[in-house]
């Protein structure tokens, strides 16, 4: 159950992940695809495009990384067998032109012809199967969950599991049929595994390059170390950009790949720099040192827009909420939970602290998704109602512990401290005594929340994929220590909804579930936050992607 659920989560997430990938020419400017190959041309292709990452990538082999900043770069150098339609979750051809199966267990992929890796070797059936076998045969530190995170999430284990507790692999094998067809066999039927393959972690790498540079991983001290040079000094894929150099700490340089099989990159040089300080990223954009960065601070959105910078919005597939742990009294008291909900002024917080376009949440999933219920019970801001509910609860002078994380910003929580201060003041105004609890985001805070030690905690969720199941299903389908409640009605309704295949019925079931949840009030959702990408004034063709894996080959200067 758990494994399958994770699979479905990642699958659809993968679909979204590459939403922008297949969007050839979406940027539609006057630039010709081939222009960037003319070094002396006076157009926008000459001046390098510089993107500020918030942290240095860990490595450039998709199979070894799961952090956003590494995957952002991997996405430019590599491609997988399948991709997704721009702005949607539909799986579309990438390195495979079509795929089919009669039993959902053995899948035949027809590969695109004439595709070359950056090192000049051919991408063909043999190379494709080699990639799958490489992942399947990971050994030693390669089996570390921090290394092959997505393989393990999607396929479970490996050919030889080195840890007895690891789940057996759902992958069986890969056979070539001629030069342009491969057959991938699974342990059990699955249709959803196709979209998982669109994750950048399942990118096709050049077998020759791996053999030449090595892909060893060793466990040294507290962390795995990429001792093989492929992932750090010589990554070779089929993507629109090829690797040039990586001066760690300084910059990572990519260059448009002349032999790219699709529409070629418009800007010749693509450079990534890590600037961890948020105000420094904005200032670097203003001075022209960089051309773009992600997660513009809410306070800067209007300022930068006003100054003529291109600010692009990303869909708000997230929710920020306050969780209640019902094991810890008085949170077991429904009147107290309702009192808290009425005490907190969510409108004021969202207006003052969240970027324009963000909305106050009424339930644990964003309105864009099927299953959202307009009719759920709402808890408008009303201090007197809150005081009345406290009086009715029978709890005299209720004391609550309010937790907030430090050392972190999340898309749904750009400034946790500000949220905390607002919540604390609101709760105190309603008559609660608030005990301040704070901890570093990783690991203490997450640990306290997940192990049921935090009474009232601020947290949230970013979509892996655009489905109700990824929100309420993840939170409330089974008992969890962070909530510590056992509500069979809610668990049952969500089980039922997840099993339902008819879309209309499924939507109705999730709507019912949302109603149940908001009546029960296990926590208080408060925001669906918009996030923004900031770009230089002359940048065109940048397409935001719901999961931040934007395709830079579409970008041009106008």
């Amino acid at each position: 159950m758990e494994a399958r659920k994770r699979l479905s989560a990642v699958v659809a997430g993968g679909a979204l992940l590459l939403a922008a990938a297949a969007c050839g020419g979406g940027g539609g400017t006057g630039n010709q695809p081939g222009e960037s190959t003319q070094p002396s041309a006076g157009g926008g292709g000459d001046k390098a495009f510089v993107w500020a990452l918030s942290a240095e990538p860990k490595a450039l082999d998709g199979a070894y990384v799961s952090d956003g900043e590494s995957l952002r770069v991997v996405r430019q150098i590599f491609e997988g067998l399948v991709g997704t339609k721009p702005g949607a979750t539909d799986v579309v051809p990438a390195l495979a032109t079509k795929w089919e199966s009669t039993d959902a267990t053995n899948w035949t992929f027809t590969l695109k012809q004439g595709v070359k890796f950056h090192d000049g070797t051919d991408f063909n059936a043999e190379a494709a199967c080699w990639n799958f076998e490489r992942w399947f045969n990971f050994k030693g530190a390669q089996q570390n969950p921090a290394v092959s995170y997505y393989w393990q999430t999607v396929f479970g284990g490996f050919a030889k599991n080195e840890d007895p507790e690891m789940t057996p692999s759902s992958y069986k094998g890969c056979k070539t049929e001629g030069a342009d067809k491969i057959v991938i066999s699974l342990a059990s039927p699955s249709a959803s595994f196709i979209s998982a393959l669109s994750l950048p972690s399942f990118s096709m790498v050049s077998p020759a390059a791996i053999q030449k540079s090595g892909d060893a991983v060793e466990m040294k001290g507290d962390a795995p170390e990429f001792t093989g040079k492929f992932a750090t000094e010589a990554p070779v894929g089929t993507g629109p950009y090829k690797f040039v150099s990586w001066a760690r700490g300084d910059k990572l340089t990519l260059e448009a790949f002349d032999g790219y099989h699709g529409e070629k990159a418009k800007i010749k040089s693509l450079i990534f720099r890590a600037i961890s300080d948020a105000p420094a990223r904005r200032q670097a954009l203003e001075s022209g040192e960089i051309d773009g960065f992600d997660q513009v601070e809410p306070a800067d959105v209007e300022t930068l827009k006003g100054a003529g910078y291109t600010i692009q919005e990303r869909p708000a597939l997230n929710v920020g909420y306050i969780g209640f742990n019902q094991k810890l009294a008085p949170m077991d008291n429904p009147k107290i939970r309702q009192a808290i909900a009425h005490a907190i002024n969510r409108e004021a917080l969202v207006k003052a602290k969240y970027p324009p376009g963000s909305t106050v949440a009424t339930q644990f999933m964003p309105p864009e998704l099927a299953g959202y219920n307009e009719q759920v019970t709402t808890y408008p801001y009303d201090v007197n109602k809150a005081k009345q509910l406290i009086a009715e609860s029978g709890v005299a002078n209720p004391t609550v512990e309010l937790w907030y994380p430090t050392g972190v910003t999340r898309p749904y929580m750009p400034d946790p401290k500000a949220n905390f201060e607002a919540f604390k003041a609101d709760l105190e105004a309603a008559g609660f005594k608030v005990v301040v609890k704070s901890a570093r985001w990783t690991p203490e805070y997450i640990d306290a929340v997940d192990n049921g030690k935090a009474m009232i905690f601020m947290i949230g969720w970013n979509a892996d994929f655009a489905d109700a199941d990824n929100f309420v299903g993840t939170f409330f389908q089974a008992p969890q220590k962070r909530w510590s409640f056992d509500n069979k009605e809610i668990f049952g309704k969500l089980d039922e909804a997840e099993r339902e295949t008819d879309p209309a019925k499924r939507t109705a079931l999730y709507q019912e579930a949302n109603k149940l949840i908001m009546d029960f009030l296990p926590g208080l959702p408060y925001v669906h936050n918009k996030s923004f990408v900031g770009l230089g004034k002359d940048i065109k063709g940048f397409l935001t992607d719901p999961l931040s894996n934007e395709n830079f080959s579409l970008v041009s200067r106008g």
Binding site: P298, K351, A352, K353, T406, A418, V436, S438, A439
Partner: protein, 302 residues
Amino acid sequence: MSLGAAEAAITVAEEQGGGLWREAVKRLSRNPAAIIGAVLIALFVFVAIFADWLAPYTAMAPDLSQIEGPGHVPGPSAEHWLGLDDNGRDLLSRIILGARQSLLVGVVSLLFGMAGGIILGLLAGGLGGWVDSTVMRLVDMMLAIPGLLFAIGIAAMLGQGMTAVMIAIGVVNIPVFARLLRGQMLAQREADYALAAKSLGVKRSRIILGHVFPNSLTPVIVQGTLTLATAIIEAAGLAFLGLSGEDPSIPEWGRMLAESQRHLANAPQLVIAPGVAIVLAALGFTLLGEALREALDPKYRR
């Protein structure tokens, strides 16, 4: 000679020490830097103690109704002389209330560092021998770690909170005091009165605890004044690296300075006000400490 006579001899020697302080105070009162320093400190301590009474607003709870959107920071007005912060609170009140936290950090970490330093210094300077070597190696070790990282390391073990910050800064200062006291005690032990007392048969522990130690405290006190300044500055550095008090609604200069960097362009007063407050408070202690050092230094007495 009797022990009583020995004591008398020591007391005579110490009279000169007392004279040193008296003369120092006289010299300080003529030194404009010392006066400015003392005024700044007095102001700082006064504001810290009477903050609740001085602050025009309570300024603890955010008032988001004042904020029209992210990035909006209401500027100075007749009601709010320095304007509001990004949570809709009166900035002047927060600066005033913040003095309390800064003074607390300074004093507590100073006491902590001084107490630790005095214990170590007393052990090393008083007992000598292998205790001295061991303590001094420990002190060398602590001094070899860059102060800021040392504090971060300590605070990381203790978890988030002002207590962690105060202990961390205190620990960083332990070796400074230890070394200073030990050096001074070694010198004092060789001083005429101590040698005289020793030759007269006064017990070693009595010489050291009763005379050498108190006579060695002068530079420790000077250093203590200066440490009050560095503690306030170090607390700001730690806040910049994300280590500060648990409850962000309690105003604290270092944190206000570190966290308002994002508003440098649109509301520079949010940055400048706590920055100036830190500089003035630290300057007060530094001015007085430096003047004190010069006043007590025999070299400058000519």
